[in-house]
């Protein structure tokens, strides 16, 4: 990676982190619930009382909502899978460059 690109990369990542972090730090009273919930509230506002006609498979299996901590865990699993795959391939690409075999197939 050239130096300029490295810099630009860092700037982009830092900007992304700032955009995400500033509302969280600045809005002290906000709950930061999901906007899914805001969506269902809106449905009820327009439509009156609404009973979802289907519950998620996993929730009907355990007979209650997924506990918050477990949900966090599951979301982390999703992130982990994605990061793992990206890291694996980026690592291979990086090594290929380092070994000077740019044109070889992975």
């Amino acid at each position: 990676m050239e130096k300029n690109q490295k810099k630009l990369f860092a700037v982009l990542i830092i900007a992304a982190i700032l955009i995400a972090a500033i509302p969280f730090l600045a809005l002290k009273d906000a709950e930061f619930g999901g906007s899914d919930d805001a969506g269902s509230v809106m449905v009820e506002e327009i439509h009156g009382e609404y009973d979802p006609w289907f519950t998620p498979v996993l929730e009907s299996m355990i007979g209650r909502e997924i506990p918050g901590e477990i949900e966090t865990l599951l979301f982390c699993v999703q992130t982990g899978i994605g990061v793992g795959i990206i890291a694996f391939f980026m690592g291979r690409l990086y090594e290929r460059r380092k070994l000077g075999k740019d044109n070889e197939e992975l």
């Binding site: 995400a20 509302p23 930061f32 327009i46 994605g82 795959i85 990206i86 990086y94």
Partner: protein
């Protein structure tokens, strides 16, 4: 830093700030059981041609060009990562991004529909986020409409010779926003408000979803541009083989 890059950064910063100042509002997938049966089926059927085309396109790409596998895996994984991150927004609620822009730019919108639906099924079954009944509608907004719009923006910018990184940024962030516009319209079609019909209802849903999503769309654009920079420096042959460079 060259003059050109300074200009790029300035442009991106202005864009972000402009978006950041807008009052906030936006949403995620349609919840399980919240869409009437007829709509679930209709959206599902509407998705089918895109999914079939996507499947055949991916198969063809991989048959002709094994190098594309790496990029396809990275695009899919990128959607996994990006759509799992719930990010706090200026409205005081959280939402997540779609991550479909990268795949749309590299492989075209049809191929991404397959990658997107894998993520949606994963989230619906394991995370109880989104839903199996609303899978068709969610797939249409996140895996089809968004990527198509991204691709449109990408093609347009490319034609006008806009800088490549800005193109990527714009394609990803506008595609993300469009996904949530489609979600709002889908909800509005199912729940037209008594006073103003579908349109009034769509505006209402948009007002919940749009302000939240605006800054997140910017984040998505930035992250997509970042990963494209990585790919450009380490995966040139692969990018060439799929026709990006």
């Amino acid at each position: 830093m060259t003059q050109k890059q300074k200009k790029q950064i300035t442009a991106i910063t202005v864009f972000s700030i402009a978006f950041g100042i807008c009052p906030a509002a936006n949403a995620m997938h349609i919840m399980e059981g919240y869409l009437p049966v007829a709509y679930c089926i209709a959206w599902g059927v509407l998705c089918l041609p895109f999914l079939v085309t996507g499947f055949m396109k991916i198969k063809k790409t991989l048959d002709e060009n094994r190098r594309a596998m790496t990029l396809l895996a990275i695009s899919g994984a990128f959607i996994f990562v990006i759509s799992s991150l719930k990010i706090p927004s200026v409205t005081g609620s959280c939402s997540h991004m779609t991550g479909t822009g990268l795949g749309a730019i590299l492989f075209g919108p049809c191929s991404v529909s397959i990658l997107g639906i894998i993520v949606l099924i994963f989230q619906a079954v394991i995370l109880a986020h989104g839903g199996l009944t609303s899978l068709g509608a969610n797939a249409f907004s996140m895996a089809i409409a968004g990527p198509f719009f991204s691709y449109g923006v990408y093609a347009l910018c490319k034609k006008c010779n806009v800088n490549r990184r800005i193109t990527v940024f714009l394609a990803a962030s506008i595609g993300d926003l469009f996904t949530y516009c489609v979600t709002s319209v889908q909800l509005a079609l199912a729940y037209p408000s008594e006073a103003g019909g579908v349109l009034a209802s769509a505006v209402k849903f948009l007002s919940v979803f749009a302000p939240t999503q605006l800054p997140l769309a910017v984040v998505e654009g930035l992250l997509t541009a970042a990963i494209v920079i990585c790919l450009e420096s380490f995966a040139k042959p692969e990018l060439k083989s799929v026709g990006y460079i």
